[in-house]
């Protein structure tokens, strides 16, 4: 506990899960425990792949880490804050200021253009989009190669482009942590590589921490650390060999 507090105080420790359990349908006949006492620590600047078969609890874990779902028991500290004591509003604000999301099916707002989607976090924060934010959003979209598609709606963009808009959106406020759920899940190999490269580049440039859920062993091999989940428990947690990690740094 003392060591943990020191790590948090030093600002190194970003995520700290201890003995986390998660059950669904509590009290019903179909009650099911998805995570069975899981513990995990992620430091600042790490690039972690979360792998495992379907139904192993990857997405649930990601939702819990992303403060999108409450945990049933155990403790969770993010950025030094114990989550259990926070109410919904505090959780929302913490999520807003700490975490960027890249969802599997991109989850852009269909009614808004690419640029509007990327400026949405600013609108949520300040009730307006400042010139500064607009500049930043344009810059980010240009970085992911979408300077020509800013005023297009998601339905007018290809899957890879949509995913890159989602990445720009996740990064617009420079959060310390980005959570990605199958960011390349429904993309062809070329787009998939492009999107992943984008994530790695952001990591290099900003020291953002990434936790990426993926099915794709190729992608996992290009991360710095692989955590494998089997049946709601961590089966493997190890750094990726230097040789395969190198391949992600051409």
């Amino acid at each position: 506990m003392g060591a943990d507090a020191t790590a948090a105080a030093q600002g190194q420790r970003l995520i700290e899960l201890a003995d986390v359990r998660k059950s669904y349908n509590i009290g019903l006949p179909n009650e099911a425990e998805v995570l069975h006492g899981l513990s995990l620590k992620v430091d600042r600047g790490e690039f972690v792949a979360l792998i495992g078969p379907s139904g192993s609890g990857k997405s649930t874990l990601l939702n819990i880490v992303g403060l999108l779902e409450p945990l049933t028991s155990g403790s969770y500290r993010i950025n030094g804050k114990a989550v259990a004591s926070l109410d919904d509003r505090a959780l929302t604000l913490l999520r807003r200021d700490t975490i960027g999301f890249v969802f599997q099916f991109h989850h852009l707002l269909p009614a808004f253009t690419a640029l509007e989607n990327v400026t949405m976090p600013g609108l949520i924060r300040e009730g307006r989009v400042s010139r500064q934010q607009l500049e930043r959003a344009r810059e980010l979209l240009a970085t992911v190669g979408l300077s020509q598609a800013m005023d297009k709606r998601p339905s007018e963009l290809s899957g890879g482009m949509q995913q890159r808009v989602a990445i720009a959106r996740a990064l617009v406020f420079d959060p310390p942590l980005v959570l990605a759920d199958e960011p390349t899940g429904n993309l062809d190999t070329a787009s998939s590589d492009g999107v992943f490269e984008e994530l790695r580049r952001m990591h290099r440039e900003r020291q953002t921490s990434f936790v990426i859920v993926t099915h794709d062993p190729r992608l996992a091999a290009r991360c710095d650390r692989v955590v494998e989940l089997v049946d709601g428990a961590i089966a493997r947690d190890e750094p990726v060999e230097a040789s395969s990690a190198d391949s992600s740094h051409p």
């Binding site: 999108l68 300040e126 009730g127």
Partner: protein, 410 residues
Amino acid sequence: MLPYAWLGFESRIAVRFLREGRLQTVLIMVGVAAGVAVIAYISALVTGLQENTFNKTLGGQPHVTLQSRDDSVTPARAAEPGVVAFSDTQAKAQRLRSVANWQSLLPLLEQWPGVAAVSPIVAGGGLAIRGEATQSIALAGVDLDRYDRVVRLREKVVAGAARLEPGEGIIGIELASDLGLRPGDRLTVQTGSVSETVRVTALVDLGVRELNRRTVIVPLRLAQSLLGLPGGVTSLDLTLRDVWSAKDMAADMRRQFPYKVESWQETNAQLVSALNAQGVSTGLIRAIVLVVVVLGIASVLVVSVVQKRREIGILRAMGATRGQMVRVFLVQGGIVGVVGSLLGLALAQLMIFLFTVFVRGSDGQALFAITLTASLAVQVALVASVCGVLAAIAPARRAAAMDPAQAIRI
């Protein structure tokens, strides 16, 4: 950090959501507009109708009248228990009696808070005779200036000029045509054994045929001598600043003075109950339409919440608070309410225009004035908009209650 722009996020998202569900939005706005139009039109119509009825019936009447108490017979002493007594009391015939001390009462009543004007009147029955023709009349002796302040007689003059010098009289137009009289002509007024000749100065239209056929207005003194009440008056007529305070004021005066005081509500009980019935049914219609409007807005927004579930989850994941999501839907309800009620008011105005153009009385004149007053319009629009916001509360809370993860998963 820039200050938070009030409702900036909420209104942008609300507008975009409304624009996305174009057909739904249009349908519900038309629904709200129809509801608001019905409410505004019915309200304007009934207000016009009531004012019309009111002016016609009450225009020639005082709001409160003060008379001497009815003569009554003191009843026989009640029989002791066990004793059978035969007694029969016949009600007394009411003779014309003067209001005691009316000269000193008059200034007192004029000072009374809420009283606009007081007019002493000598009223009784009589006959109007011209040549062979005889008509029974209601004779009223008045002080013209005071009387005018109570019933606005001068506004009702249709021929001649209102003037009541000694020996002059003002008569109703029906009476004038029955007796073939024009301003300047003479007629004889007879009561019991006394008869006097008066010169007609003006014809008045009091709005009710029976009144127009019977009314003869003469100076106070002439009526006093005709009706055998020298120096006396049969009643004091009062006009109030607030018509509806008549009942309470009459009750108040009854407690303080030993006179018979009646408000117009008591003398026109049927009119009052008719107006009340009208008011109640109007209120009922308005309430029901309002409920329909509220349910309409609420149901469309409930559907919208279900449809937008994923978007709500995404916005929540990006850091939108529950409060912000609730307000998005409240703003939607408000926009629907405001736009719908503006459309509705325009529609109501159109209906009123059509009513005045196409609904005509037998004389080709519009039946009565019906106008949508600014205050009514503002009131209706405000109520509809507030109801729009209220209708959005339930769906909005539903939208905000979802776990973001759960919302996105769908």
